[in-house]
Structure formats: C-alpha cells, structure tokens
C-alpha cells in the first residue's frame, strides 16, 4: 500500500488532502469533524484584525453553475473572512492542534497592509501552536475594496513586502496564497519567493458573476435587488488553476518553490494531476462544501490505489513528474501527424462528430448510408474535436502516423525527426536548424 504521508515545508500530514481556508474550516466543530473524517490538514478560515469582527451579508452569499442533474460545476461566493472574534478562533485553533498533533493546522491571515497590523497578530497566532500561516492575498470581493486580499495579491511589490514582514516576525512556515485575478501568475509568485515565502498556494477564487436573474435584471446571488461580483471556484476553475500551477513550477525563477495546489479538486484524479504538475499537497473547498467531509475517503482510497498500480511508494515520488512535459507551443513537434479513427463497433451513430467536423472544423467526416461515419484522412487535421464531442468514451481514437507513411492531406511523407516552429520555413523568424 502506498504511503500517502506528506511532508510539506516540514509540516507532516497523513495524506496530501487539506481543507482550504473557507467555511469548512471556520470553527473548531467543523475542523474536528473533518479530522475525524480523515482530512490530512486544514487551513483555518482567514483571521482578521483584533476588535469587532467583519460582518457578512445576511442574504444569499452563493451563486452556482449547474451541470446535468444539478451537479455543482462552479460555485461563486461573496463571503468575507471569518466573522467570529479573533480570540475565539485562536483559542479553538490551540485546542484542536493540541488534540490532533498528527494533522496539519495552518492559519490563514488577512490584515491591513501595515507592518504594525502584522506584528500584532503574528505572535498571537504563533502562541496557538499552529504549524504555519497562509497569507490570504486572494479574496477578490469585499476585502479587496478595503485594500486587502486580491488588492494586495495584484501588486507584486506589496506581496513581497508583506511576506518579508511575516518572515521577520514569525518563525514557522509562511505560505502565500495567490489570486488568479492577474495577467501573469509568475510575477506574484516571484514576489512571494523574493519576500522569503516558504511556499505559494493557488488559486484563490476567480472574480465572477455566475448568473443574472432575468426577472429582476440583477446578478445572482441577489441581495435586495442588487448583486456584486464574487469569487468563483469548483470543478469549473480547475483548468485555469492547473495552468497557473504549471507556469510557476516551470518558471526558472521560482523552480523548486513548494506549491500547494487549489482549485476544483473533487476526486483523487484531480489531486494526482495537481501533484504531477508540481504540487506538494492539495487543498479542497468546493468538493467538501458540495458533498460533505466524507469525500476525502474516496480521494484517499483512489490516490492510494492509483499509486499502487503505478508502483509509486510515496507521494513525493511523483511530485512534478509532468512538469518537464509542459512546454511552449513553439516547441511542439510539427512532424507528429495523427488521424482520427472511428471504431465502427463502438459507434452509436449519433452523428455528433459529423455535425462538429462538418459545421465547425475540416469537413473530414463522411456520413454514409446507414448512418456510418468515417474519417476522410485526406481532410483530417487531427484536431480532436470529434473525440471531444463523441458521447462514447474510446470510440474515436487519434492514431499516430508512422514515419515514412504519406499524409494524404498534405501529400508529404511523415518525417521521423522532431521539428518545431522555431525552425519551420513558414516562420519569418525561423532560425536555421542546428
């Protein structure tokens, strides 16, 4: 059986599945039950300054994007940081950590961008015995209007400055949580590293309006006839987050910086993908909010089974294994030629591949009498659209052409050698091949 224990920044947890800072980690009651269910760690719901806590709206705070059968594909929220007093949270954190020494307890913090504010809160957090802190530079709504959250996360200089304050005033690991609401994620990651961060975690939520009420003509969730943008998370954001993780993992300036992956992780497979792209562990919010704490049991069992199948003994054995295979478009092999092939026995004759290819692609699928669909190799550019729209898994395959074969579309012989755009004759900036 694979060993799922992870050691992230020296913080050990029995598995790589942590609950992200959010409602699931808002209080002792939740966190205890999460640990009982098997979660490896938590990032406590973001704490704010001492004094009167912030207030939340008293109307709906979530919007949703549903798939078939009301499956939650995306969740949008306008919740702020914790609305419970700092003292209560700190006492609870200390108690939980004392009772669960083998689980990771990291405290998320968001206070104003002034050194004094951080100097005040950091020692108090340290006293709880928590394993580390996460700086919430991500929240895209509400707090950002007050100069915190993503308002900091969008300015690399602020990230660096605040991270440095934290490293100077706190002696355990500091994780910087990044906002995706930025053009190039590498800049804030570099800033975090330069400020001394032990790790980055990403993504926080994506600024979003999920839907508009067409009777009220108002964004949802609607509070007394008005709506404001919120933060988007859940399965729908995973592709965005994966790319950002990969960008940081392969950036020479941040290479080796530990990453905690967040965004739409719902199954063991999602987690494995994040880890393969360089994450030392993962954090989950929406999946827990949709299905309850028990989902972690599927994640643990699934990851363990898959690792056994692959002969992977420890999680660290595959961290970042996919990173070398992430490259730029210009380095993709243009001598790689494939053709779609439809398995006639598996085909159910729905014709979706035909409609897609005929109407929006390369007219490379023929519809023959008896609803027989066949690929026309002389037209197929191997775009994969037919594979993607086919309702039958494995029915359409992309078959690689062997070197020496002639591509009936171009009339050219498939070359055995790798050649990319940088050397392609059509590229005005092509360099001579070496």
């Amino acid at each position: 059986m694979a060993d799922l224990t992870t050691n992230f920044l020296g913080i050990s947890s029995p598995n790589p599945f942590w609950l992200a800072s959010a409602p699931p980690t808002d209080k002792e009651y939740n966190v205890r039950r999460a640990f009982e269910a098997g979660w490896g760690g938590v990032v406590w719901k973001t704490l704010g300054e001492p004094g009167p806590p912030i207030v939340n709206v008293n109307g709906p705070r979530y919007g949703v994007l549903h798939g078939p059968d009301r499956r939650v594909l995306g969740l949008n929220n306008i919740e702020l940081i914790t609305d419970r007093p700092l003292e209560v949270n700190l006492e609870e954190i200390a108690r939980v950590k004392a009772d669960w020494p083998d689980r990771a307890v990291v405290v998320s913090i968001m206070v104003p961008c002034e050194e004094a504010a951080w100097k005040t809160i950091l020692p108090r957090v340290a006293e709880t015995g928590a394993d580390g802190i996460e700086l919430n530079f991500g929240c895209p709504h509400g707090m950002s209007e007050r100069g915190m959250g993503s308002a900091v996360g969008q300015v690399p200089e602020y990230i660096e400055m605040v991270t440095r304050w934290c490293k100077e005033n706190y002696d355990r690991p500091v994780i910087v949580k990044l906002t995706p609401n930025i053009t190039d994620i590498r800049y804030p990651a570099r800033a975090a590293k330069n400020g001394g961060a032990d790790a980055v975690s990403l993504i926080n939520t994506v600024s979003s309006i999920t839907s508009v009420d067409l009777d009220l003509f108002c964004p949802q969730p609607t509070i007394d006839g008005k709506g404001s943008h919120g933060g988007y998370c859940g399965p729908a954001v995973k592709p965005i987050a994966l790319n950002m993780v990969a960008e940081i993992a392969r950036d020479p300036e941040t290479a080796g910086l530990p990453i905690s992956g967040i965004g739409g992780i719902t199954t063991w497979r999602d987690a494995a993908e994040y880890i393969a792209l360089g994450c030392g562990n993962v954090q989950v919010c929406t999946a827990a909010m949709t299905y309850g704490f028990k989902v972690v049991q599927e994640m643990i069992a699934g990851l363990s089974d898959w690792m056994d199948e692959k002969g992977l003994a420890r999680v660290s054995d595959f961290v970042g294994r996919a990173v070398p295979n992430v490259t730029d478009w210009q380095y993709l092999n243009l001598n790689y030629v494939a053709k779609a092939k439809i398995d006639q026995d598996a085909c159910i004759k729905c014709g979706r591949c035909f409609a897609a290819c005929e109407d929006t692609s390369h007219q490379a699928i023929a519809m023959k009498p008896g609803r027989v669909f066949e690929v026309i190799d002389a037209e197929c550019v191997a775009c994969n659209l037919c594979v993607d729209v086919c309702p039958v898994e494995g029915c359409i395959d992309m078959v690689q052409m062997r070197p020496g074969e002639v591509d009936p579309r171009t009339g050219r012989t498939v070359e055995p050698d790798y050649a990319n755009w940088t050397t392609h004759p059509n590229n005005p900036m092509a360099r001579a091949a070496e």
Binding site: P68, D69, R70, I348, K349, C350, G351, R352, F354, A355, M367, R371, P391, V392
Partner: protein, 444 residues
Amino acid sequence: MANGQTVSGIRAGRLPAGEIAANFGDLHPPLDAHEAAVAADRCYFCHDAPCIAACPTEIDIPLFIRQIQTGNPEGAARTIFEQNILGGMCARVCPTETLCEEACVREEAEGKPVEIGRLQRFATDSLMARGAHPYTRAAATGRHVAVIGAGPAGLACAHRLAMLGHDVTIYEARDKPGGLNEFGIAAYKTPGGFARAEVEWLLKIGGIAVKTGRALGRGLTLDALKRDHDAVFLSIGLAGVNALGLPGEDLEGVHDAVDFIAELRQADDLSALPVGRNVVVLGGGMTAVDAAVQSKLLGAESVTIAYRRGRDAMPASRYEQDLAASNGVRLMFNLAPVRLLGETRLEAVELEYTATVGGRLEGTGETVTLAADQVFKAIGQTLDGAPGGIAIEGGKIAVTGAGRTSLEGVWAGGDCAAGGEDLTVTAVAAGRDAAMDIHAALGA
C-alpha cells in the same frame, strides 16, 4: 365488495372501488420539472437524428428536448404541435418502443433510450395546462372542406385546414368526437378525460364545426357532401369488426373487444362495469392486449390471450406483451379457436394448436378447452361505410400521394386508408399531409 374475483359469471365490482380506480391510474405518470430536466439531459442532440425519421409525424425531437433542457417547455410544445397537433395524445399512447425510442442511439448504446414520450408529455402538458391555443388562423379563404370522422386523422386534417384559413365541418357518426382516442385507447394510457379535453383545446383554433350523430351512408351522401363543400376528407377509421364464424359465437358472454373497451372508456364508474371470472381474449394485437389487461384490472380472476401464431408474429409489441404478462395475463401462442361451448351462456372455449407448414397455418388436431364466462374477439377491424365507387386496396381505401383517392376532390387518411400502421400518430400524419395537399389543390 359484493362479488369477489372467484364468483362465476359476468359481474361488476370484483375488486374494491378504490383498487379499481388505482388500477386505472396513469400507466406512465407525468415527469415533474426536475425529472424532465434530468431525462432531457440524456439527449445527445444527434445530427439528422434517427428519432425524427422514426416518428411518423417527424417531430424535431432533439430540438424540443433541448428546449426543455433550457427551461422553455412551452417552446418545446410548439415545436411538437407544429408537426403533430395531437402531440399530447401521442405522448401518451404511441408505442415509442417501436417508434422514436427504438431509433434513439442510446437504445443502441445502453438499451435505455431517452424517454422521448414522457418528455413530449411534459412539454405538451405545460402548454395545454394554460388552456390557451397556440395557433391563429390565416385570413379566410372562403373555401369549405368536409371531414368525415372525428378521430385523430380527421381532427389533424381539420385543424391544419382551419389554420390555413379554410372553414371545416366535421361529420361524426358517434355522439362525441375523438374517435378511438375517446372510445378505444386503453383507459390507463389516457386517464382524467384527456381525450375530451384535447379535442376541446384543438377546436379553439376556430373555424371547425363538429356535427355529431351524422354518418356517411346513413342519411349523408358523398354526392351531397361534394356539392356543398370544396373538398372531402374521409377519416372514418375501421368501423366494422371481423367475426369468428364459429359455432357458439352468439352465446351470451361472447363480445367484440372494441365494444367492451368503448363501454369501459365511457363508464363513469368502473366498479359498476361487469367482467367475467375467466376471460379469454382471441387475437394478438393492441386491442387484444388492452381488452385483456383491462379485464384483469377490473378484477377478472384469470385472463388468457390466445393467439393463433407464434410470439414473434404477434402484432402487439414485446413491450405490450410484457405489460400484459406483468398484469397477470397469460399469453398462449399457436392456438386457434374452434368452438365456443355452452347452453345459452358461454362456459368454455375449445382451441386447437397450430403449426406453420409450408408457410401456411394449419391445425395440428390437438385441442385444449379453457373455461370461460367471457370471450373477447379481437381479431381485427374492417372498413365499413366507405362510399360506393371508391377504389379499395387490401380492404382499405386506396390512396396515392398525400391521401388522394380514386375520386376527384376526395381524400382519405388514417386507419380507413391503405398504407402505414394503424396508429394514432400515423393517422395524425395522414390528416395533416392531406390537409396540405387539399390546400394546394384548392389553390387558395
């Protein structure tokens, strides 16, 4: 309960009234909005979808299902009614297992088609629940068409003609319009007076006068009709029934299945409707299955369908055979009746086993006698009342193109005309298409 199931004779109230009422509830209960959304999501929106071609009225099924998916069931209903104004009835009574749902690619893929029939009902019910009629008439053409018979073929034809601006008079022999929708279809397929409500809703288009109690051949002649109208559409169904021609056929307790079913459909109180203790149904079509199942639901102790050929040759679909079996009806194959036994009242049926020899059905000489206090004959209906001089083909009115008969200015469609299966949906298609052809011929 005065009479139990085991009391001999033909008696009412074999089951408690509540149980009988429950037995005749909706065979396929309506989908609620969420169920419909889930069912609609299974549609792949196929290219040139095979389900469309499999529907005799060629409803754009993927389109209406997508309209349900997007929260527009009334738009979905309009897509349906565009092609099939009796889409509400068809959603309930079509043997979808041999039509659209058989063609659904998910039937091929998983043996579980998209529930097209129930989705169609969800859509049409949504619109009809508002009571309003979705169509208006084109400017009046001044033309007047006579439609003979107010079954699905006649109603579909009349509606389309009215929509195109023609005036229509329907002459119907019975005292109520609807045809077999009202008098034939199994009660549990269309409960709650739906047939009647649908006709009322359809007639809201305006321009259609329905004259009941007016039968062609009984005081009404084709010549007179042609004189008073610009065109005539014959949709008289199959008003005759085949006889067995066997000894004992006139014994008390021997009935035509269609009469029993019509009586059942018109009964206000099913617990007052008598049925035998031991019922034998002769035949193998939808009528046989409906008579048998409804006898069982009324409380007959034993019900047997005896069909003269093998299971594969049975006109009732496998789904209907299973429906009968699951209701406790016994299906017997390769059995042909030879004699009905009894003094004045029926007591038993004697049947002979059959075999197909050299393509011909022959008796084997071996017989079996089944106790029976009631027999329903369901061995086919026949054309009755077609005007003299009209060409007949295979026992039905011969037609070419969209229902043109051998007589100038006379069209025919539905069960009375040759071609196509005898189904509600086929009748609707024929009526609609004839209307378009009449419209073109009138040059209005």
